[in-house]
């Protein structure tokens, strides 16, 4: 049994598909593509899917991954990628298929690009950089915790990119602890009046403990 990893981008319309829905969407897409995925053998057979690091609703990503199993001993990754491309919904772009090298649990960090309309983020970042601390509430299943964003984002460097303000973030993203970039855009909204919905958040990289690329 081989585990195959699909690397895909999740953009535009697809950024509004929740994880729960994405499981169904992917399962059906794989079935439509004709790629020989392995089905669970239980009462309710289905394609067994594992998403490495689910993305919050409304954010975009270039580096999403989902694993499925196959009994095929020599998967033709190129051909399967092509088959999958034909059947994906708008906004899900299959980048490549490969053997699952690392385990999903190894993911520790994620890199993001945040875009705001020009002129909006620079001043907010300046104010943010001058703060001694930036407290936000982080909600999880275990309850609400207060977290100091400055611990994770000490400074923001805004660059102008055409008609947009852009900056990068590197944040913890793992099984045990994740900092959602929306905490920062939420902080910007609350403190400086920048609408969260004006922020485009794009995940660009997944990294392990040692800051190596997750493959």
């Amino acid at each position: 049994m081989n585990t195959v990893r699909i690397w895909f981008s999740k953009r535009g319309e697809a950024s509004y598909i929740s994880l729960l829905d994405l499981q169904r969407v992917m399962g059906r897409a794989i079935k439509r593509s004709g790629v020989p995925a392995w089905y669970t053998q239980g009462f309710n057979p289905h394609i067994y899917l594992t998403f490495a690091c689910p993305l919050p609703l409304g954010q975009e990503s270039l580096v999403e991954s989902v694993d499925f199993k196959t009994e095929e001993e020599h998967p033709d990754y190129e051909a399967w990628a092509e088959d999958l491309r034909r059947v994906m919904p708008a906004g899900i772009l299959v980048n490549r298929l490969c053997p699952a090298a690392h385990k999903a649990e190894e993911i520790a960090w994620s890199r993001y690009q945040v875009h705001y309309p020009a002129g909006m983020a620079a001043r907010a970042a300046e104010q943010y950089n001058a703060l001694p601390q930036a407290l936000v509430e982080k909600k999880s299943k275990r309850g609400v915790k207060t977290l100091d964003l400055k611990q994770y984002i000490p400074e923001i460097q805004v660059q102008k990119e055409g008609d947009q303000d852009c900056f990068e973030l590197l944040l913890p993203a793992g099984v045990s602890f994740t900092v959602n970039p929306a905490l920062l855009t939420g902080f910007f909204e609350k403190e400086y009046g920048l609408k969260s919905s004006d922020a485009h958040i794009l995940r660009t990289q997944l990294l392990n403990e040692k800051m190596e690329k997750f493959e």
């Binding site: 535009g12 319309e13 059906r28 309710n44 906004g91």
Partner: protein, 619 residues
């Protein structure tokens, strides 16, 4: 892709995936290159609308034309509606995100009376005037189709044109006429005149309705050369009509999120309460080969793992076993299961159970509709207790442990004895389970009875009868609850106030239009959702307009009275409806169409007999 305002709205609502489009199977075209844009509007939420087979059929047919683009529009849920109003986002189609005003034709499907004011809400969100007379050529043509068109007179003033009957051939004809008119630059009146010459196309403004002093209709007079009676459009040969095989696959769960294959259209049974049974006459089947291929293609194209064999009465298909045999060849290895939603209790055979449960076993659902044999004969639901007994025994022996039964209350001639009969039927099924020596060990049985309030509908033999009053229905519901003595029986019943409103609109006339506008202004829309249903506001509005709701819902309609739908013809003659009504009062049954023709008149639509009567199709 998304405008900033739309992004903001989507960030603030539940399930934004309902408002984004982009699902697998949806069609995007270059709007500069199309000659006709059609907005297919479903006046309910995405989850409900995406379950609707008719939209999938017509979406595929229209989009097959390279130069036409059909897109989808649904009613946003309350949170999204509020955001759209706050951010001044007009209602848009999911594919192009363009407002409805950018379309040539805006078509609504009328599936249910309680969706009527949702249409007003959708027009309002688009900034489109409600009344047809207030819209000139600069507005899209607002049209309607679907079963409720059989008497959508309460909505007649809002629509430019309505389509009676089956849309697969008619709608492309309509679109071609509109495309041509657009090229020629003809005015709206001329376009409507041309449309009124297409079979089943009804232009309400071409008919004048006058009333008698007591409120009944005096006359319905055609103008502008429109036909005195509009005859529905029909597909004569279902085997020549390809099935849709490219459904849009919703990404957030629709209510019916599975492959649907329409095995037959119409119904041979002639249940006297059932509007669909009369509107879709005569019954026409598709052959086994065609159905099997469509089901297979559909699963391949969508990735669905469940196929439902769809129709008003699937077990009446003369080749059903063959269909199932063919499908069972490929389904198990492709991990596809099958569901048969509309089975008759009287021809549910052992092999049918076996063929449908190769993969998974779910509950059984049947509809005896009435609790006593006498009342079942009145409504012409030709099933007996012996048949119910046989089917349930079969199912229990096969390992089923739950049975759901549908009933109605408020049927013509009904007494409290008939209500007790509902409870007795359920109790006898519970007893049957325990009498079965092979029953699954350690398992208990669950019989659920779901009781709806009967709504007399136009074009049925019961169109003449008054609806039971709310007081009487409530008393019957209480009596039923008191008649059930087992915890194995669960009783669900419907709110009688929604059924009452449904009756008012089902048999309503054009005088109800301003009431609907006023009720909408008070916040009445999405009425079929219990948290949005404001009965008091509706009743208040009727009072303000001096409308007696009982005139529509609770009055006996004379057998020779002109009804609001007298000029709309579905192929079934008035004489037949009267004959059936009289037989009902005597509790006399009528045989199914495929056993004996009872002369309803619908065979004229096909130009010959509906069946070869030498065949014995019904077991």
């Amino acid at each position: 892709m998304f405008e900033p305002a739309l992004r903001e709205a989507l960030a603030n609502v539940q399930k934004p995936g309902r408002y984004t489009g982009g699902e697998p199977g949806c069609v995007y075209k270059d709007k500069e290159k199309v000659d006709l844009r059609f907005a297919f509007c479903f006046p309910d939420t995405y989850e409900v609308g995406m379950s609707f087979l008719g939209e999938k059929i017509l979406y595929e047919i229209l989009n097959q034309r390279e130069n036409w683009w059909c897109e989808r529009v649904f009613m946003p849920w309350l949170d999204m509606k509020a955001e759209m109003e706050r951010l001044k986002i007009p209602l848009y189609a999911l594919e192009s995100k363009d407002p409805l005003t950018a379309f040539d034709v805006v078509g609504f499907t009328l599936q249910y009376e309680l969706s009527y004011t949702t249409i007003l809400a959708m027009l309002d969100l688009s900034g489109i005037p409600f009344y047809a007379k207030d819209r000139d050529e600069s507005w899209p043509l607002i049209v309607a189709g679907g079963p409720c068109v059989c008497n959508a007179e309460p909505l007649a003033d809002f629509f430019d044109m309505m389509m009676l009957g089956e849309g697969e051939e008619q709608l492309p004809q309509v679109c071609a006429t509109i495309e041509q008119a657009k090229k020629e630059g003809v005015d709206k009146q001329e376009l409507l005149r041309r449309l009124s010459r297409i079979q089943g196309c009804y232009v309400p403004s071409f008919y004048e309705v006058s009333y008698q002093p007591d409120g009944r209709i005096q006359a319905i007079t055609p103008r502008e050369g429109a036909p005195a009676v509009v005859h529905k459009a029909i597909i004569k040969d279902m085997n020549k009509l390809p099935l849709p095989t490219h459904f849009i696959v919703p990404m957030i769960g629709a209510i019916h999120d599975r492959a649907q294959v329409e095995v037959l259209r119409g119904c041979v049974r002639g249940c006297r309460f059932c509007q669909a049974g009369f509107l879709y006459r005569p019954m026409r089947e598709r052959n086994a080969e065609m159905l099997d291929k469509a089901a297979h293609d559909l699963c391949d194209n969508t990735g669905y793992e469940e196929v439902s064999l769809h129709s008003l009465s699937t077990s009446d298909h003369s080749q059903l076993e063959q269909v199932l045999d063919r499908m069972n060849e490929w389904m198990p290895k492709e991990h596809v299961s099958i569901s048969l939603p509309s089975l008759r209790i009287d021809n549910f055979s052992e092999s049918l159970i076996e063929k449908t449960t190769k993969i998974r076993k779910s509950g059984l659902t049947f509809a005896p509709e009435a609790g006593t044999q006498r009342l079942r004969d009145v409504i012409n639901k030709n099933i007996t207790w012996e048949e119910i007994e046989k089917t349930c025994s079969l199912a229990f022996r096969d390992g089923y442990t739950s049975v759901k039964l549908y009933f109605m209350m408020g049927l013509p001639t009904e007494t409290m004895e008939d209500i007790e009969g509902i409870a007795e039927t359920a109790q006898k099924i519970v007893d049957l389970f325990y009498a079965n020596p092979d029953k699954p060990k350690g398992k208990s049985v669950q019989v659920t009875i779901s009781v709806a309030c009967f709504v007399p509908k136009p074009h049925t033999p019961f169109q003449f009868v008054p609806q039971d009053t709310e007081e009487s229905l409530k008393a019957k519901q209480q009596h039923l609850l008191h008649s059930v003595h087992s915890r194995k029986i669960r009783v669900n019943y419907h709110d009688s106030s929604t059924s009452f409103l449904e009756a008012v609109f089902a048999k309503g006339d054009r005088r109800l239009a301003p009431v609907m506008v006023a009720a909408y202004r008070k916040g009445c829309y999405l009425d079929s959702w219990s948290d949005c249903f404001h009965y008091d506001r509706w009743m208040e509005t009727f009072r303000e307009f001096g409308i007696d709701t009982a005139f529509y819902a609770n009055r006996f309609i004379g057998l020779d009275e002109i009804t609001p739908w007298s000029h709309l013809d579905y192929g079934v003659s008035h004489e037949f409806l009267v004959r059936e009504y009289k037989k009902a009062l005597e509790a006399k049954t009528t045989r199914p169409c495929n056993r004996q023709c009872s002369g309803c008149g619908a065979n004229l639509l096909l130009g010959g007999p509906c069946f070869e009567y030498s065949q014995d199709l019904v077991q």
